[in-house]
């Protein structure tokens, strides 16, 4: 889609529209047919090797959970450093570009760790999380986070930082911190449910 159609904020508007559509889908009866069709997939997840290990070997499950937490810590660290730089509160004597690009590399591997350990954990408790609303909230938050990071934030900061309106930069940084905090908080919430 040519950027001109929606002006300079095409990606932001599209992302907001996708998130709004996903929320609308999730909180109305529209989701029920898809939700029912997903059940065999979750049942299958429990029959996989990951599911078997996760269900029968508590120590392995807990160790992977710890790996998930460490991935979260590193991802959170990258978000705080990178967005802290955009907000002008961290590493202010290092050029924006350096901080953002270097943090993004580590962020990528932390995200891969989170996803890999998350899939393992999901297989071990697939039917439990299938019935947990908060698991779906987390998936929505995670989807929004990845979409926001790679479709809005990254292309935005790929421009010359000095040419971007500082208010837009700060709003992007705050939105980024909030969305990843939401992912972490909903993940923690899963532990209290069910």
């Amino acid at each position: 889609m040519p950027p001109a159609i929606l002006g300079p904020y095409t990606r932001t508007i599209l992302t907001a529209a996708i998130i709004a559509a996903a929320l609308g889908f999730s909180f109305t009866y529209a989701r029920l047919s898809v939700y029912t069709e997903l059940m065999p997939f979750f049942e299958w997840m429990e029959t996989t090797w990951f599911g078997y290990v996760g269900k029968t070997w508590g120590a392995a499950f807990a160790t992977i959970q710890a790996g998930h937490l460490i991935g979260l810590a590193v991802l959170g660290g990258c978000v705080i450093v990178s967005d802290g730089r955009l907000l002008g509160v961290l590493l202010t004597d290092v050029p924006h570009r350096k901080v953002i690009d270097r943090a993004d590399r580590v962020f990528f591997w932390a995200l891969i760790t989170l996803l890999a350990t998350g899939v393992f954990m999901a297989c071990g408790v697939a039917m439990k999380i299938y019935y947990l609303p908060v698991y779906w909230y987390k998936m929505l938050a995670l989807g929004a986070g990845i979409l926001f990071h790679y479709y809005v934030r990254r292309p935005l900061v790929a421009h010359e930082i000095e040419s971007i309106n500082p208010i837009i930069l700060k709003m992007t940084a705050i939105a980024s911190i909030l969305v990843w905090f939401l992912v972490a908080a909903t993940g923690r919430w899963i532990g209290f449910s069910g």
């Binding site: 120590a59 807990a62 959170g76 660290g77 961290l90 004597d93 901080v99």
Partner: protein
């Protein structure tokens, strides 16, 4: 020693606020969530500093800058973790004091503190000669690697505390009884 620890834990357990915190569904969960989510600030910063020393993160940013600038948010994060950690112990003192994982975690936290002290001391002594290099000298890298390993085991132990595999009210081997400091006739968790 184990009896003394047990008696102190029982005394804490008998204080009204300990029971209130333990029985408060929302407050306990808030404290626990804060303890876990602050990982992003404390361990997040610490791991980035360690990865910088190993040459895996910010290799072209001076090591001293990364260590100095990330130190403050890291210490804020660790302060919050420390306070919430004490509150979590205060809420469940007897079981925690006799948890194998909690005891390993405490020993490792002391090891982490000693390692951090030595790491900073060695770094401050020599950083001017290698500040702009992608990888720190071997001595510093060893400290960074130890920090990553110790803290990873701390997180694993923290996660394991929630499980009851080695709780004293189960029949355990003499070794586990010894490590966990189980006291005969203990009646509460």
């Amino acid at each position: 020693m184990d009896e003394l620890i047990y008696n102190i834990a029982v005394w804490i357990d008998d204080t009204p606020y300990s029971a209130m915190l333990h029985e408060s569904y929302y407050m306990y969960n808030w404290v626990e969530s804060t303890h876990v989510l602050t990982l992003m600030m404390s361990l997040g910063m610490l791991f980035l500093i360690d990865l910088r020393m190993l040459g895996y993160a910010f290799p072209d940013v001076p090591a001293s800058k990364i260590a100095d600038r990330l130190n403050i948010p890291m210490l804020i994060g660790f302060t919050v973790m420390f306070v919430t950690g004490i509150l979590l112990f205060y809420a469940v003192p007897v079981r925690s004091a006799q948890s194998v994982w909690f005891r390993i975690k405490m020993i490792l936290l002391v090891a982490c503190a000693i390692n951090a002290y030595l790491f900073h001391k060695r770094m401050n002594e020599s950083v001017s000669s290698w500040d702009n290099e992608a990888r720190a000298p071997k001595r510093i890298r060893t400290g960074a690697m130890l920090s990553l390993v110790f803290w990873t085991i701390v997180v694993i132990c923290g996660r394991f505390i929630a499980y009851d595999w080695f709780d004293c009210d189960y029949d355990q081997s003499a070794f586990i009884d010894f490590v966990a400091g189980c006291i005969d006739g203990q009646a509460r968790f």
